[in-house]
C-alpha cells in the first residue's frame, strides 16, 4: 500500500469515526443518562430578529435545568442548536441530521419546516412540538398523534383578534359591513389563517382585504400600505415575522393608521415596535404569558445561567416577549420529558415516550407554581384528543417603552374554529392517501 493510499485510508477511517460519533444516538453523556433536545434555531439571516430572542429563551431555560437540577429527573439535557435560517430546506437538513440520534422531539420554529415534518413524525417516531404555530388542524391528536401545537393555534389566535375587535365595536354583530385588512408574510405561516379568516368574513359579514408581503419585500412594503390608504380598512390584522414586523409598524405609523386598530398575532417583539419610534404607540398584539423578569423562573435563569456567563442573551434582553416565549416553549419540552420519565420509569427517554409525556401535560396552578411560573401563564391541559389546549390569550399594547396588558383573557371562539379545524383535519387525511389511523395507546383522557 502506497503512502497516498495509507493517507486516504486513514482520512476515510477518521471521517467515518467522526461521523459515527456524531450520528450515534444520544442517550448518555459522561457515563450518565441524558436526553437529547435538538433546537432548530435561526440566529442568522433575514428572520434573525425574531429567531435570536426565542433561541436564547429556549436554550437558557434548559441550561438552567441542567445547572440547577442536573437536568430532568436525574438525566442531563443535551442541548444542540441547528441553524435553519428559517429556510425550509435547511430545516429539513437539520431534521435529517438529528433524527438518527434519538431526539426526544423536534422544535422546527417555522410553519414551513413543520408542514413537511408532519407526515414524517409518525414514521420516524419523533414528536414535533410546533408551539402556537404550524398547521392549526394538527391540534387534533386522534388524527395527528405525533404533532403538538399548544397552547393556541393560529386559527384560535385569529378568533381572539376578531373577538377583541368585536368587543371594541360592541358585539360580533357590529362587524357586519366593516372592512378588515390582513397583512401577512406570503409563505406557509401567513397563509395558514386565511381559510379561517374567509369563513369569519362570510359568517360575520365583514369584508376581508388581503395584503401579502413576499419575503423578498419585507423591507419594502409601501405598495401594501398605499393599498391600506386606498381601502381604508376599519382594522388591520398582521401575521408577520422577521423584518416584516418592524417595517409594517413603521409603514402604518407613516400613513397615520390608527395604531389601536392594528392588531397582530403574538410574534412582534419590543424591538419591532421600538424601531418605529413614537408613532408605534398604541400598537397591539396577542400574548399568553408574562413579560419581564418578575417571575421565579426568570430569576433562576438569571442566577444559574446569565450571571454565570452561560447565556448568549444581550444584557437586559431577558424577559422580553420573545425571550419569554422561548422559555415557555422549553418548559413544555421539559414537562414532556418529565412526564415521559414518570410514565416509563426510565431516565433516558425516547421520542415515543415523550409523545406520551406531551399528551400527559397538565399545568395546574399548583404545577405552574412549582415551575416558578405562577402568574406567568394560564393552566394548560393536553390530552390524547387535544394536542393544543386552545387556551385564552390577552391583548397587550405598546406604550412607547414596553408592552402593557390591556383587558383580560379572551377565549378562542371554539364554536366557530372547532368545526372548521375538524373539517381541515379530515381534508388533510383525504388528501394524503394512506394516512395512518391512530394506533398509539392513550395514557391520559
Amino acid at each position: 500500500m502506497g503512502y497516498m493510499s495509507k493517507v486516504l485510508l486513514s482520512a476515510a477511517s477518521g471521517a467515518a469515526m467522526l461521523l459515527g460519533g456524531q450520528l450515534a444516538p444520544v442517550q448518555a453523556q459522561d457515563g450518565k443518562d441524558a436526553n437529547f433536545v435538538p433546537l432548530f434555531t435561526y440566529r442568522t439571516g433575514p428572520f434573525s430578529g425574531s429567531g435570536i430572542p426565542i433561541a436564547n429563551g429556549m436554550r437558557d431555560y434548559l441550561e438552567m435545568l441542567n445547572q440547577r437540577d442536573g437536568g430532568i429527573g436525574g438525566a442531563k439535557i443535551v442541548i444542540e442548536e441547528c441553524e435553519t435560517g428559517y429556510d425550509t430546506k435547511k430545516g429539513l437538513e437539520c431534521y435529517e441530521a438529528v433524527k438518527g440520534r434519538n431526539p426526544v422531539m423536534v422544535n422546527p420554529w417555522s410553519t414551513g419546516i413543520t408542514l413537511p415534518l408532519i407526515p414524517r413524525a409518525a414514521v420516524d417516531r419523533i414528536p414535533v412540538l410546533s408551539m402556537a404555530y404550524g398547521l392549526s388542524a394538527s391540534a387534533d391528536g386522534q388524527t395527528f398523534p405525533w404533532i403538538f401545537n399548544p397552547p393556541n393555534t393560529y386559527w384560535d389566535g385569529l378568533s381572539v383578534i376578531i373577538k377583541h375587535i368585536a368587543d371594541e365595536l360592541g358585539g360580533l354583530d357590529k362587524l357586519k359591513g366593516k372592512k378588515i385588512g390582513y397583512i401577512y408574510l406570503d409563505a406557509g405561516f401567513g397563509k395558514e389563517p386565511i381559510p379561517m379568516f374567509e369563513q369569519f368574513a362570510k359568517d360575520l359579514g365583514f369584508e376581508l382585504k388581503l395584503y401579502p408581503v413576499a419575503a423578498t419585500d419585507m423591507q419594502n412594503q409601501s405598495s401594501q400600505w398605499l393599498g391600506v390608504r386606498r381601502d381604508k380598512p376599519d382594522y388591520m390584522v398582521m401575521y408577520g415575522w422577521g423584518a416584516l414586523n418592524p417595517t409594517a409598524i413603521k409603514e402604518a405609523a407613516r400613513i397615520n393608521y390608527p395604531m389601536d386598530r392594528f392588531v397582530s398575532i403574538w410574534w412582534p417583539s419590543e424591538d419591532d415596535a421600538r424601531s418605529a419610534g413614537p408613532g408605534a404607540k398604541g400598537f397591539r398584539e396577542l400574548n399568553w404569558h408574562g413579560v419581564g423578569t418578575d417571575f421565579p423562573v426568570l430569576k433562576d435563569i438569571q442566577k444559574h445561567v446569565i450571571d454565570k456567563g452561560l447565556s448568549k442573551v444581550a444584557k437586559g434582553k431577558e424577559g422580553e416577549v420573545l425571550y419569554n416565549r422561548g422559555v415557555y416553549n422549553s418548559m413544555l419540552i421539559a414537562e414532556g420529558i418529565r412526564n415521559a420519565q414518570k410514565l416509563t420509569g426510565k431516565k433516558a427517554v425516547t421520542g415515543e415516550d415523550v409523545r406520551r409525556g406531551l399528551e400527559a401535560i397538565n399545568l395546574t396552578p399548583e404545577r405552574l407554581k412549582e415551575l416558578g411560573m405562577e402568574g406567568f401563564t394560564d393552566p394548560l391541559k393536553l390530552s390524547c384528543a387535544d394536542h393544543n389546549g386552545h387556551g385564552a390569550a390577552f391583548v397587550q399594547e405598546w406604550d412607547g417603552q414596553k408592552y402593557v396588558k390591556i383587558g383580560g383573557p379572551i377565549k378562542p371562539m371554539e364554536d366557530k374554529v372547532g368545526p372548521v379545524a375538524a373539517a381541515a383535519a379530515k381534508d388533510y387525511v383525504e388528501k394524503n392517501a394512506g394516512w395512518p389511523k391512530r394506533t398509539e395507546a392513550c395514557d391520559s383522557k
Partner: protein
C-alpha cells in the same frame, strides 16, 4: 375581466389622483434606491467585467459596520469615516486576495469568486456584529426625520423627509460619479480599463490601482444605499434580499451604463409600485416580486442590450 385590467385601474387613477401621485413618489424613491444598488454593480462590471454578486451583502456590511461602530460608542460621524476606511480596506483586500490571483481567468471564475465573497461577508458580518437587526442612526447622522403632508388633488400626499434626502443624496452621488468618470484622470483610466485591459496596461495604467478605486467607489455607494434602506426599515440581513431587486434594473438599464442604472431603477421602482397598487388586487396581490423581472424582460424583447447598454458586434 378586460374592464378590470384595461379600464378600471385608470378610472381609479383619475378618481384618486392623490394616491396616484403617492404611488409615483413611492416608486421613484424605491427606484432611486434600486439605482444606487445597481450603480455599485455597474461600477465594478465596467472596470473589471466582473458581475459582483456580493454587492447586495456589501450594502448590509457597510450599514452594519456604521451602526455597529456607533453601538460600540464611536460618535456617529467618526463611525461614518471609519466605515469608509473599512470599505477601502475591503476593496484592497478584494483586489489582493480575490482579483489579483484570478486575473486573466474566465469571467465565470471571477463571478463565482464574488459568490464566495458574499458568504464570507455574511459570516464575518454576523460574527462581528451579530445577527440582531439594528436601528439606523438616522438622527445622529443629521438626516431628517418626519413627514411632510401636502394637501393636493383633493387628498393628501405624504413625503418622508428621509426619502427626499435619499433622492437628493443619490442625485449628488450620481453627479459626482459622472464628473469622476468623465473629467478626472482616474476616471478616464477607468474607462480605458473598461474598454480593454490589455490596451490600458500597455499605456501604463495600473489595473490593480483601478480595481481598488472602483471597488471602494462601489463600497461608498453601498454605504449610501445601506443608510437609506436602513432608515426606512432597519439594518438587517434582510436588506441583502432587497438588493437583489437591482438585478432587473441592470437587465433593463444595461450592465455598463451609469445612466442606465438610474433610468432603469426609476422605471422598475415606479413600474412595480403602480403594478402592485392598481393591478395587484386582481390576482390577490404580491406581484411586486416578479413584476420587476417581467418589466425588464419586456424591455429586452425590444432592446436586448438594455436601455443604455452597448450593442456588441463581434466578427466571426
Amino acid at each position: 375581466m378586460l374592464y378590470n385590467i384595461f379600464i378600471d385601474p385608470f378610472v381609479q387613477m383619475a378618481g384618486a389622483p392623490d394616491l396616484l401621485v403617492q404611488a409615483l413618489w413611492d416608486g421613484l424613491v424605491s427606484g432611486v434606491l434600486y439605482a444606487l444598488i445597481a450603480l455599485g454593480f455597474v461600477l465594478i462590471f465596467k472596470a473589471s467585467g466582473v458581475f459582483n454578486f456580493a454587492q447586495g451583502i456589501m450594502v448590509v456590511f457597510a450599514a452594519l459596520t456604521l451602526v455597529g461602530l456607533y453601538e460600540k460608542g464611536v460618535p456617529a460621524y467618526v463611525a461614518l469615516a471609519l466605515t469608509l476606511v473599512v470599505m477601502f480596506l475591503l476593496a484592497v483586500a478584494v483586489e489582493r486576495v480575490v482579483l489579483r490571483p484570478l486575473v486573466n481567468q474566465p469571467d465565470i471564475i471571477l463571478f463565482m469568486a464574488t459568490f464566495g465573497l458574499t458568504y464570507f461577508l455574511i459570516g464575518f458580518g454576523e460574527l462581528v456584529f451579530g445577527g440582531n437587526p439594528k436601528a439606523m442612526i438616522t438622527a445622529q447622522l443629521g438626516l431628517p426625520r418626519g413627514v411632510i403632508d401636502v394637501e393636493m388633488l383633493g387628498g393628501r400626499v405624504s413625503f418622508q423627509k428621509i426619502d427626499i434626502a435619499a433622492a437628493v443624496i443619490a442625485s449628488i452621488m450620481v453627479a459626482a460619479l459622472a464628473v469622476f468618470f468623465q473629467k478626472t484622470r482616474i476616471g478616464r483610466a477607468l474607462r480605458a480599463v473598461a474598454d480593454s485591459h490589455k490596451a490600458a496596461l500597455s499605456v501604463g495604467i495600473s489595473l490593480n490601482q483601478i480595481w481598488v478605486i472602483v471597488w471602494f467607489a462601489a463600497g461608498v455607494v453601498a454605504l449610501a444605499a445601506g443608510i437609506m434602506w436602513g432608515a426606512r426599515s432597519e439594518v438587517s440581513f434582510a436588506l441583502e434580499i432587497v438588493a437583489l431587486k437591482a438585478l432587473p434594473v441592470l437587465v433593463l438599464g444595461g450592465f455598463t451604463s451609469v445612466p442606465g442604472a438610474i433610468v432603469g431603477g426609476l422605471i422598475i421602482g415606479v413600474g412595480e409600485k403602480l403594478g402592485e397598487f392598481y393591478w395587484g388586487p386582481l390576482v390577490g396581490g404580491g406581484i411586486e416580486t416578479w413584476l420587476a423581472y417581467f418589466i425588464a424582460l419586456a424591455f429586452l424583447l425590444f432592446r436586448p442590450q438594455g436601455l443604455f447598454g452597448e450593442k456588441i458586434i463581434e466578427r466571426i
